[in-house]
């Protein structure tokens, strides 16, 4: 996103050349920050700058366009424009402020000039991920076309646009219409009203395309496919221009979104100055005196609030101090926080820090103009803050990621991140806010307690590796496909020609048959299929859930509207896990309690009321996998890795109330009143070779669980020889899921896992074994609850005629699947490598690990058993590391091969 383009043109760019460098360097920060530090806790990395690489404008552009431009094009801009000239689709994946907007703006200008010369029109559909960005970019584009001296009308058309005449005028008159995908989904219903605009459409822009991943990404992919159908109907065949933050697979991701080939432009020709990157792990908390005891505050986000073993000062306390300190030293600083509440709190804490250290900060007013910024503020207030940042009137801002995407606030001296933002892509986009032109910049990452934060703090090189996460978007989810198919039929009759273009024929025919049987579609593919269900199927699409079963989030009766959390509707899977009755949730930094959940009405709802509790809630989950069918497999050494589909039964049956301060449970085992959830989804699983299993069972056979409360051994397995090995699988399962976001743009909350000593009993049974096939299409046979499913699994295990394989499953926790476990299947070695590092490098020194390595608050088995060493052994062997080879010796001596293995499994 390049909102700074126009600023370049109209000369508002700050031209203060008096300071060559950032006001504070990394080393100066370490020297001046008023506190003793352990050297091990901080690393300073140097990232070199980059020279500009430009191409003269007149080599690329016709004179009318080249003339008015003050600066030459960067090489990547020229390359992208050349590709567009050759009728290619493009994806530009370069840094923040590298002039991506200008590429499509110039292409629009070229198209319009050419069309006008022929006496025709040319239009462009420009799609942003948020409405705020749409308004911002409307201004930027208009300003840019003014500079070019072109009369090109750019209008926003979205949910905030006045209905009626205004909309009609835009549809009929605008050259460029700016909208978002929720809008496109809706407006396709009335495509005949858009005929003028669509039939002359030469360019579709998908800005910030990397944001379209997971469930949202697949909806967007289908909206684009529907849009293309309608465009084709009106005789338009536009090019696509996508712009993306730097991601690992821009070409693949873009092609998956638009179902066409895409030329990737990722050689960044824009200049940057050198940058210092400080990884700042907060110091150990002073336990007794409480001088750093702002610990009454929850962690930064839902995920962070979970720590039982908290040793370091939380990032939410440490980062505001850095913000305060840097501002004091004349560095205009932008602090990124994970929530609105923390943005507000950070500003207060920054000033508290000044007062607490008044001897050091002798002049309390120096650099003290610091404001919060987030989407909860009014538009006027936000514009005011943006303006004061741009003009230098503000010394610092604490902001949510609302300032990560595109809004034009000029450039800062320094960024501070309160916690690792979870993705390298996002990390780079945020720190890209620091750096004035080619001068030095400083960025500080304050690590939180979470697994990923600690991984990054301990492995600084991770951030500097050239690879960035792959963005995962997947169109294999049939539930999502089927819903968009209804919309497509409503928009234009489905015909044989849609086979191949819209969906592969067999899939299309099956989906059509399904809906005809359900009375939602009518007709035949030869002659045309129409939608005949309730009006406007587009309205029932939620761009954030896979099924129509989504829950509206409402405020309890009598609660003031201003407490409205304004949440997107929730997918059923999320409601059952996180929004059961009695759950206490943080949303955008505000705390809510769920007071009612209505599962049964045609329009299911979750009702919230604001609360101020000193605890949060954590569900306990039983999971099992049934009827998994392998669709693909591959060997990794002597391991076998599978990808396939299966049924996952999830039961979030009880929950605990946990103290915010120390993570201690206050109340345990409260009922959620949830129904069990059964999803049919995608999964991958790893089978460990028998010899390794025997060796590890032998090596760790002494391991046992301390059965503190005496009732933990419900299955009578605490003493089994397999427990240490099972703990290794369980730990490896947690760790591989935990680090998946280091390699892939996946949301850990959408993944689940199951470690098992008997993979075979979770697979679909062969015909004949136990007399039945697994599914056979009769829904009546599937177990209705988790207990029954677990019993089934044990029963199958007992009936197996051969020794089963052991290993672990990773599944997509969303009905129909998201492509996440598929991506993990394809990148398993890289994920395993990260998991190994995480476990081996953690300095907790405990056999069963800590929350920063293998413990997981979503664990269905209370994080037992876990065995770090055994997990590292398995991963070493998988990765072909030497220590893995040595295990064979143990195996040879093993005498436990004949032990009957218990059918243990842990989620």
């Amino acid at each position: 996103m390049d909102t700074d383009d126009a600023a370049d043109e109209d000369g508002t760019e700050p031209t203060d050349g008096s300071r060559e460098d950032v006001p504070v360097t990394g080393d100066e920060l370490l020297e001046t920050f008023p506190r003793y530090r352990d050297e091990e806790d901080v690393s300073v990395l140097e990232i070199p700058g980059r020279e500009a690489s430009t191409v003269p404008n007149d080599e690329v552009l016709r004179p009318e366009l080249a003339g008015p431009l003050e600066y030459d094009l960067y090489a990547h801009q020229a390359e992208a424009l050349a590709a567009l000239e050759h009728d290619e689709n493009i994806c530009v994946a370069t840094s923040t402020s590298s002039g991506k907007t200008r590429i499509y703006a110039l292409q629009i200008a070229r198209n319009v000039l050419e069309a006008r010369a022929r006496g025709e029109r040319s239009t462009a559909y420009v799609l942003y991920p948020t409405k705020a960005l749409s308004r911002d970019q409307e201004r930027e584009l208009n300003d840019f076309f003014d500079v070019l001296g072109l009369d090109i009308s750019v209008r926003v058309y979205d949910g905030d646009t006045d209905p009626g005449e205004t909309r009609r005028q835009i549809r009929e008159g605008a050259d460029v219409i700016i909208s978002n995908f929720a809008g496109v989904n809706t407006y396709l219903h009335d495509h005949d009203r858009w005929a003028r605009f669509l039939s002359t459409c030469d360019l579709v822009v998908v800005d910030e395309s990397h944001t379209y991943t997971g469930v949202h990404g697949m909806h967007v992919a289908w909206v684009i496919r529907r849009l293309k159908r309608v465009l084709e109907y009106y005789g338009a065949d536009p090019q696509f221009a996508l712009t993306s933050a730097t991601i690992g697979n821009p070409g693949e991701h873009s092609s998956a979104l638009i179902a066409e080939s895409v030329t990737v432009v990722d050689e960044d020709g824009s200049p940057t100055g050198p940058r210092e990157l400080v990884l700042w792990n907060p110091p150990a908390r002073a336990r007794a005196d409480g001088s750093d005891g702002d610990s009454a505050t929850a962690g930064g986000s839902e995920d962070e609030a979970d720590n039982a073993v908290v040793e370091r000062v939380p990032a939410s306390v440490e980062a505001p101090k850095l913000l305060s300190h840097l501002c004091y030293h004349d560095a205009q600083t932008l602090l990124f926080t994970p929530s609105r509440k923390l943005a507000e709190l950070s500003v207060k804490r920054a000033s508290t820090h000044r007062r607490d250290r008044s001897r050091y900060y002798a002049n309390p007013d120096r650099g003290s103009e610091i404001e919060p910024y987030h989407a909860g503020h009014s538009r006027t207030k936000r514009h005011g803050t943006e303006h004061r940042l741009k003009t230098g009137a503000l010394d610092g801002v604490a902001s949510t990621n609302a300032l990560e995407l595109g809004i034009n606030v000029g450039e800062m001296d320094t960024t501070v991140q309160l916690g690792y933002p979870g993705q390298r892509q996002s990390f780079w986009q945020q720190i890209g806010r620091a750096g004035r032109g080619t001068r030095r910049a400083l960025s500080v990452l304050v690590a939180g307690h979470r697994t990923l934060d600690q991984y990054v703090a301990n492995n600084p090189d991770y951030l500097l590796e050239t690879d960035v996460e792959d963005a995962v978007v997947d169109v294999d989810n049939d539930a999502v496909f089927a819903r968009h198919l209804l919309c497509a039929a409503d928009e234009l009759a489905l015909k044989g020609a849609d086979a191949g273009a819209f969906a592969e024929r067999e899939r299309l025919e099956r989906a059509v048959e399904m809906w005809c049987r359900a009375g939602r579609l009518a007709g035949h593919l030869e002659t045309g299929i129409s939608y005949v269900g309730p009006p406007r199927p587009q309205g029932s699409i939620s761009l954030y859930a896979t099924s129509g079963e989504e829950y509206a989030v409402e405020l309890a009766d009598g609660v003031d509207e201003r407490h409205d959390p304004e949440m997107e509707p929730l997918a059923e899977e999320r409601v059952l896990r996180d929004f059961h009755e009695g759950a206490v949730r943080l949303h955008e930094g505000r705390q809510y309690e769920v007071c009612a959940v209505d599962h049964d009405s045609p329009r299911p709802t979750v009702t919230l009321r604001p609360t101020d509790a000193d605890c949060y809630t954590r569900t306990r989950t039983d999971v099992t996998v049934l009827d998994a069918v392998s669709e693909e497999s591959r060997e990794i050494g002597d391991f076998t890795l599978h990808f396939g589909r299966g049924q996952v039964l999830v039961y979030h049956g009880t929950y605990d109330r946990v103290d915010v301060d120390n993570g201690d449970p206050k109340e345990q085992g409260l009922p959620t009143e949830n129904p069990p959830l059964s999803i049919e989804t995608q999964l991958c699983w790893l089978e460990v070779p028998d010899a390794l299993e025997r060796a590890l069972v032998e090596r760790y056979r002494e391991f046992s669980l301390e059965d503190e409360d005496g009732d933990g051994d419900e299955d009578g397995i605490a003493e089994t020889a397999h427990l240490g090995y099972a703990g290794g699988l369980h730990a490896a399962e947690h760790a591989t899921i935990g680090v998946a976001p280091l390699e892939l743009m996946v949301d850990k909350r959408d993944l689940g896992g199951l470690a098992t000593l008997s993979i075979d009993s979770h697979l679909e049974r062969e015909r004949g074994e136990n007399g039945t096939t697994g599914k056979g299409g009769t829904s009546g046979e599937a177990p209705r609850n988790v207990a029954a499913a677990e019993a089934t699994v044990r029963q199958i295990a007992d009936g197996l005629e051969h020794e089963p394989k052991s290993g672990w499953f990773i599944y997509d926790g969303i009905d129909g699947g998201l492509g996440f476990s598929r991506a993990i299947y394809e990148n398993f070695e890289a994920v395993a490598e990260r998991a190994r590092e995480l476990i081996a490098d953690c300095d907790c020194g405990r056999v069963d690990g800590c929350p920063a390595c293998v413990m997981d608050d979503q664990c269905g088995n209370d994080n037992q058993p876990l065995h770090r060493e055994a997990a590292v052994d398995v991963l070493d062997r998988l990765l072909g590391n030497e220590s893995g080879e040595a295990l064979e010796a143990d195996a040879a001596e093993s005498e436990s091969g004949s032990d009957r293995r218990p059918p243990l499994f842990y989620s």
């Binding site: 209905p163 009626g164 909309r167 809706t186 407006y187 219903h189 009335d190 005949d192 005929a195 989810n477 049939d478 539930a479 089927a482 819903r483 039929a489 409503d490 928009e491 234009l492 009759a493 489905l494 015909k495 899939r507 099956r510 989906a511 048959e513 399904m514 809906w515 005809c516 049987r517 359900a518 009375g519 009518a522 007709g523 035949h524 030869e526 002659t527 045309g528 299929i529 129409s530 939608y531 005949v532 269900g533 309730p534 009006p535 099924s547 999803i679 049919e680 989804t681 299409g777 829904s779 009905d815 129909g816």
Partner: protein, 516 residues
């Protein structure tokens, strides 16, 4: 109201009975004149059933309460017909033979079986739709022929023919157009024609009542109504809450509403003077069966030559061809149909013929449709632009009017008729139609079959259907033209007439769709 040869079965959900005033149910009874009332299962609703039996003259049944110690009971519908009512799938599972014997009774074979547990189950992740109860039906129903099963488990209008393996109930195939062709699939197959009577999701809430027209062949037609089409709520501006308040004041019928003075009505909470007037006016319209104009606005194309009344037939709701375009010219009482009979792959000739004729012979005439902005004009515009682009400009310059839009959405008139379907409105205004027994969906399906198979097509019947709609439209237009304008009527002050425009219809069932 149309087909009196057969019998009428009213399908009534318990929610439409409980908590509704007696008078509203009486209005349902007198308006729909059922020969039998089916209080829908599968939930057992004893109270609702007692009330239903009390309120309706016709015999009533409620499957969960049809005990008599039998799994199946027989229910006469009118004088000639009979249906078999099954208590539940569970009962059916327990003794399938009872149903078999009931159905093979040679003295009188029931025309359908009612079972409210039968429903479809869709699993999008597997791209499969199954039939709940398939195994039970396969075990109980006779193989080698088609049995109609009526259920509230699927919406009214649902009509699919499921061929089930007689042995197992496994799905062999599903025919999607049994209204065109309904044959059994062999002696080892139980063929079940499942027809819905459950609530239909619509634009404004749910149409939850349906009337099934039956004859000895089964179901011949299904009409749906909303709860609010009856009683006081049929009056625009009276929702459930207002109806409740009025009921507290012992105003429960439209006649009583009309007897209540405006001043008094206006005094009730949430009513006010304007809406009190509005209620009176609409109640009068409904009671008298006479339309009423609310403004001084002239009818579309009222001066000069009358508009041409137009109606199109397509091959589906998302059409690939507009295969029939009918135009009735009231000026000389002539009707003209443009029909594609020869090359159904090419949508252009019909459009070209229409345009040639229209621009050559009637260059200055306006067009009139019923709900045309949503359908006829919408598709005509798109098809003209695509297939006869040289006529686009002329087409766009033709004055086009939508009588439904003018009356209902713009709020210039009130119409009698319980729904806003042209057939209903025209019927309430005394129009006697041609009774082709068709509707738009059937016509579309039939034409699609002609497209696919080239089989013979009953052109006469389908053309008569289109012509009937054009003439019905003109009938409504004439009745509206003859209705007095706002200022002509005695109980309306000029000030009210001004204020009576669109806002007058934003409540109640006359609301149109929001603009997008």
């Amino acid at each position: 109201m149309t087909n009196r040869d057969g019998a009428r079965l009213l399908a009534l959900p318990p929610s439409a009975v409980l908590g509704r005033p007696t008078e509203t149910l009486a209005d349902v009874d007198t308006t729909l004149e059922p020969d039998a009332v089916w209080l829908l299962g599968p939930e057992r609703e004893a109270r609702a059933f007692a009330r239903t039996r009390q309120m309706f003259d016709a015999p009533a049944f409620h499957p969960p309460l049809e005990t008599d110690g039998e799994v199946v009971s027989r229910q006469p519908i009118g004088t000639e017909l009979e249906i078999a009512v099954v208590r539940s799938l569970r009962a059916l599972r327990a003794s399938p033979a009872d149903v078999s014997s009931a159905l093979s009774d040679s003295r009188s074979t029931p025309i359908a079986v009612v079972c409210d547990d039968v429903t479809t189950t869709t699993r999008p992740t597997a791209l499969e739709t199954g039939l709940e109860g398939a195994a039970e039906l396969a075990a109980a129903l006779p193989p080698g022929r088609v049995t109609t099963v009526l259920t509230s488990g699927v919406p009214a209008g649902y009509d699919e023919l499921w061929h089930l393996a007689a042995e197992t109930g496994a799905i062999r195939a599903v025919e999607h157009e049994p209204q065109l062709e309904c044959e059994p699939a062999g002696d080892d197959c139980v063929s079940v024609r499942v027809r819905g009577a459950g609530p239909v999701e619509g634009y404004g809430g749910s149409a939850s009542l349906s009337v099934l027209e039956l004859d000895e062949t089964g179901v011949t037609a299904v009409d749906t109504y909303e709860r609010s089409d009856f009683g006081l709520e049929a009056v625009a501006g009276i929702g459930p809450k207002t109806a409740e308040r009025l009921a507290d004041a012992e105003v429960t019928t439209r006649a009583e509403l009309l007897e209540t003075p405006i001043d008094k009505l206006a005094g009730y909470p949430g009513v006010g003077r304007d809406s009190a007037h509005r209620m009176h006016r609409h109640a009068t319209v409904l009671e008298a069966g006479e339309p009423r104009r609310l403004t001084d606005e002239s009818l579309p194309a009222e001066s000069g030559r009358p508009p041409l009344c137009l109606d199109i037939e397509t091959d589906g709701l998302s059409p690939t061809i507009l295969w029939q375009i009918g135009v009735y010219d009231p000026a000389d009482d002539s009707y003209r149909a443009f029909v594609e009979r020869d090359d159904p792959d090419d949508p252009a000739p019909v459009l070209e013929a229409l345009c040639d004729w229209l621009f050559a012979s009637h260059p200055d005439r306006a067009l009139l449709t019923w709900n045309g902005w949503r359908f006829d004009y919408r598709h005509l515009g798109a098809f003209v632009a695509r297939h006869v682009p040289y006529y686009v400009e002329e087409w766009e310059s033709v004055p086009k009017f939508d009588l439904y839009d003018w009356a209902v959405r713009e709020g210039h008139a009130l119409l009698p008729g319980r729904t806003n379907k042209l057939e209903d409105v025209a019927g309430a205004l005394g129009y006697e139609g041609a009774e082709t027994g068709l509707d738009g969906a059937q016509t579309a399906a039939a034409y699609q079959r002609f497209l696919r198979t080239g089989e013979e097509f009953d052109w006469g019947r389908h053309e008569a259907y289109c012509e009937d709609d054009c003439r019905a439209l003109w009938h409504v237009y004439e009745r509206l033209r003859d209705a007095p304008r706002a200022t002509d009527s005695s109980d309306t002050s000029p000030a009210e007439a001004e204020g009576a425009t669109p806002s007058g219809t934003t409540g109640g069932e006359q609301t149109g769709l929001g603009d997008f």
